[in-house]
């Protein structure tokens, strides 16, 4: 069945939800791609998202893989356009108009008000993901370890995610 229209609808909708980062849309991403359209399973979604953290560039590029699975090369292409197009257009319009808003007192209010909400959305996305990703003492220890290391030292997060892969192989390989 042709999934292209559904891919466009879903990812254009997710696009406008990414306030404060891609993770803000994660709960909705899970509902739509896993439960509604069944393009992939929840563990697969978590795996793709996590592997995407090791890729360079904007950190939601894993959506390309979802598009590819559901609709081949064209699927990947429309997902990219649908996901980045709407917010890109908005940013472009704002880039033109923002200077004029400099004196508008509500500008600061909006920035101050959206800050805690975007952090909350990020945290909510994180909890949604943790439900699938944290399944025992080992995985919890890896997550807490990465958190503590990042809070304490300036180290490239991609390296820690790679380190997680090594620990995963050590902990979960069947003997």
């Amino acid at each position: 069945m042709n999934q292209i229209p559904a891919l466009i609808r879903v990812f254009a909708y997710l696009s406008i939800l990414t306030v404060g980062g891609g993770m803000a849309a994660f709960p909705e991403l899970k509902t739509l791609t896993v439960e509604v359209h069944k393009w992939l399973t929840f563990p697969q979604l978590i795996h793709l998202y996590s592997v995407g953290q090791m890729a360079p560039g904007p950190n939601m590029m894993m959506i390309v893989a979802i598009g590819q699975w559901a609709g081949g090369f064209l699927g990947a292409l429309v997902v990219l356009l649908a996901f980045f197009g709407p917010t890109a257009l908005l940013a472009f319009i704002v880039a033109r108009g923002w200077k004029k808003l400099e004196k508008w007192p509500w500008r600061t209010s909006i920035q101050q008000g959206l800050a805690p909400v975007s952090i909350g959305l990020l945290l909510a996305g994180c909890f949604t993901m943790a439900k699938g990703a944290i399944s025992g003492v080992e995985t919890a220890a890896i997550a807490v370890g990465v958190l503590l290391i990042l809070l304490q030292y300036k180290i490239n997060p991609a390296l820690l995610v790679l380190g997680g892969a090594v620990l995963g192989v050590i902990s979960f390989m069947p003997k």
Binding site: S15, L17, T18, G20, M23, E28, T31, H47, L48, Y49, V51, Q53, M54, P56, G57, P58, M60, M61, V64, A65, I66, A76, T87, A88, A91, F92, A95, P105, W106, T108, S109, G113, P116, V117, I119, G120, L121, L123, A124, F127, T128, M129, A130, A133, T139, A143, V146, L150, L151, P157, L160, V161, L162, G164, A165, V166, G168, V169, F172, M173
Partner: protein, 203 residues
């Protein structure tokens, strides 16, 4: 190929010089392509290193301001920054060159990874490694939550809005859009402009 892209003399300009900021579409595309291909572990520091320090296309003050605009708009910081910087350097075409450049390498990589994962994803080694990778990613997101909280909150009461947002999405299952409108509106009204804010320094 344009010889301007190969001309390194731009770099010798002091970073604070007033900007004639003329960059060709090819230069913009190439610079963002390089950022897109090398920015492992988070794009923002690479953007600053490249656009402010190396190229001098924007100064530090502009960079910080553009970043704060990027953060309060929907969309990823990386792509919003590409649009804003591209627009400043070369209008609409500059924006397109920048966003395509920054997305292309990661998109191609994840396209290949997706195909590979679909074929080999159930291999025991890969399943084991991915379990560790996913757990590490959770830790990484939590650290982003902490560092964002340190940087961008403007008062203790903001933690109430964070909690409300999490409860609305994860417990009440209101969905992201309704939560965004409801809690967002509440938070923006809480931070509404106040009269005395204007000249509070000199009564």
């Amino acid at each position: 190929m344009s010889d301007a892209a190969l001309n390194p003399s731009v770099e010798s300009l002091p970073a604070t010089a007033p900007f004639a900021a003329q960059a060709s579409i090819a230069q913009i595309f190439l610079e963002f392509l390089i950022i897109g291909a090398t920015s492992f572990g988070g794009v923002v520091p690479y953007l600053r290193g490249s656009l402010v320090t190396k190229r001098g296309w924007i100064n530090d003050k502009e960079f910080v301001e553009m970043l704060s605009i990027s953060q309060s708009l929907p969309g990823l910081n990386a792509t919003n920054m590409a649009i804003l910087v591209g627009e400043k350097l070369h209008g609409a075409l500059g924006s397109i060159a920048a966003i395509v450049g920054i997305c292309l390498p990661g998109a191609v990589l994840m396209y290949i990874v997706g195909i590979f994962y679909r074929i080999h994803g159930d291999h025991v080694w890969i399943t084991a490694a991915l379990k560790g990778v996913a757990a590490a990613a959770v830790g990484l997101i939590l650290s982003t939550v902490v560092s964002m909280s340190k940087k961008s909150l403007s008062g203790k009461f903001d933690f109430v809005f964070i909690a409300l947002t999490v409860i609305a999405v994860n417990r009440l299952h209101l969905g992201v859009p309704r939560t965004l409108v409801a809690v967002g509106l509440l938070a923006v009204l809480f931070h509404r402009p106040r009269k005395q804010q204007k000249e509070s320094g000199t009564p």
